[in-house]
């Protein structure tokens, strides 16, 4: 049977591995390549690497760095951050990236997802969706490039699926990096069947918390950042992993 996945999510900024709290307060962790090597040795189900500033700063991708990442991964590797066109996607696939995550570009239109899916198949494109919480505890779709509240969350998700996304990564920004636990109730706003695999991310803080998430029918995979990077009460850097594989 198909095993649900546990996926470390690594954040890159200026070619360094960093870790944020609520996509803010970036802290330097180390050399991303070393950490990727460690995760490879631990036989992680998959790995997601996101560059947090490429889209914001409208920068070109560092293909040499990404190529090095890919050559250390004997498991599936997803890259996201700053991808604007099909040529970039093609280059990434040729370097050994399996899946591309598109987030900011979906706020313009869904053409990029559509084109990647048409050319490379829907299994090669993940739609990233960031959700934040207002003062009144209301969820809203968070566009962290323009910082504007725009579309309705469910409309946006449906549009991503309709245009060919093969997987969905929902980040709960208000809880990201906080190590305060992931609550599967947050998914209650999804009151329909999502036809593609769903990865959730934001605040997972224990093995039990991972197990709770994986028991949730809506969830196919959990993304984990801080919990696999930090250890102990003072958040010392120590790379760890736990697998759901039998």
């Amino acid at each position: 049977m198909l095993n649900k996945r546990v996926i470390p999510i690594l954040l890159i900024r200026n070619d360094d591995l960093v870790k944020s709290v609520k996509y803010n307060n970036y802290k330097y962790i180390g050399d991303p390549l070393n950490v990727i090597k460690i995760f490879n040795e631990k036989e992680v189900d998959e790995l997601i690497v996101l560059d947090v500033e490429k889209s914001k700063n409208n920068e070109e991708l560092n293909y040499e760095l990404i190529k090095n990442f890919a050559s250390e991964c004997y498991m599936p590797l997803t890259y996201g951050g700053g991808i604007k066109n099909l040529e970039q996607a093609e280059k990434l696939f040729s370097l050994g990236i399996e899946k591309i995550l598109i987030n900011s570009a979906n706020f313009k239109d869904y053409q990029l997802i559509k084109n990647i899916s048409k050319e490379f198949g829907s299994q090669s494109v993940i739609a990233g969706v960031d959700i934040n919480k207002s003062f009144f505890n209301k969820f809203y779709l968070y566009d962290w490039v323009s910082k504007k509240k725009k579309l309705d969350i469910n409309t946006h998700i449906q549009n991503c699926i309709k245009n060919g996304a093969g997987e969905l990564l929902i980040n709960f920004v208000f809880n990201e990096g906080t190590l305060s636990g992931f609550d599967t109730k947050w998914l209650d706003f999804i009151n329909y069947e999502i036809s593609i695999p769903l990865i959730v991310n934001g605040g997972i803080n224990s093995i039990q918390n991972i197990e709770q998430c994986l028991k949730c029918e809506k969830i196919d995979a959990v993304g984990i950042g801080a919990f696999f990077i930090y250890y102990g009460p003072h958040n010392a850097v120590l790379i760890s992993y736990t697998s759901n594989k039998g």
Partner: protein, 203 residues
């Protein structure tokens, strides 16, 4: 010792090359029909992308006819990965192009009547029906899958292993010198590398 690795427009040749390097092989990258190494009669055909765009790029580069010739007339063994495997069949529900037609059958979409999620994505187990050389001595039996379509073989005996995802999905196929895996051995750690090694050394 240089196995022929086909780089065709959308193929994930980078990952396969990495995995081959890891097991000590440095592939001969083939982008045109005149680049095949005849001293090493083995071909790996990785595939990413939709059926039609993959077949179209094989045709555009002239590799489509050359592969058929080498496999049928020159006894080259071929290993197709994912869409590479699917390209061995005659037709696909994903498109209108005709495949390489090296194996009888057709490619169909994973049945979504039971609201099962498509793509089939992640680590799944092999159920081995016929233990042939390609599957020799695997350290583990779970492999990474990422696909929305799969090959329905006309002949049951062409299926070496299944995986279960709502229905039985042929995961490893073989007919004479034609081999295919629906999963990604290049992204399945040591067990995947073992399959590549078995193909190169035993098949």
């Amino acid at each position: 010792m240089s196995i022929n690795l086909i780089k065709c427009g959308l193929g994930n040749v980078g990952s396969v090359k990495n995995a081959l390097n890891k097991i000590g092989y440095h592939p001969n990258i083939v982008e045109r029909p005149d680049q095949f190494n005849y001293n090493f009669k083995k071909i790996i055909l990785p595939g990413v992308g939709s059926f039609d765009s993959f077949i179209a790029s094989l045709k555009k580069s002239g590799l489509f006819d050359e592969i058929i010739y080498l496999v049928k007339r020159q006894q080259f063994s071929i290993l197709g990965i994912c869409v590479g495997l699917q390209s061995f069949f005659e037709t696909s529900e994903e498109g209108a192009e005709t495949g390489l037609s090296l194996i009888k059958g057709r490619v169909v979409r994973i049945n979504s009547i039971k609201q099962i999620k498509v793509p089939h994505m992640g680590w799944n187990d092999l159920i081995i029906k016929k233990n042939k050389k390609l599957l020799f001595d695997l350290p583990k039996k779970n492999f990474y899958f990422a696909h929305s379509y799969y090959a329905k073989c006309l002949f049951e005996e062409d299926i070496l292993a299944y995986t279960i995802y709502d229905e039985n999905i042929p995961a490893v196929i073989n007919s004479n010198n034609v081999y295919g895996v629906q999963f990604h051995p290049e992204k399945s750690f040591l067990q995947g590398q073992k399959i590549l090694k078995n193909f190169i050394e035993l098949c």
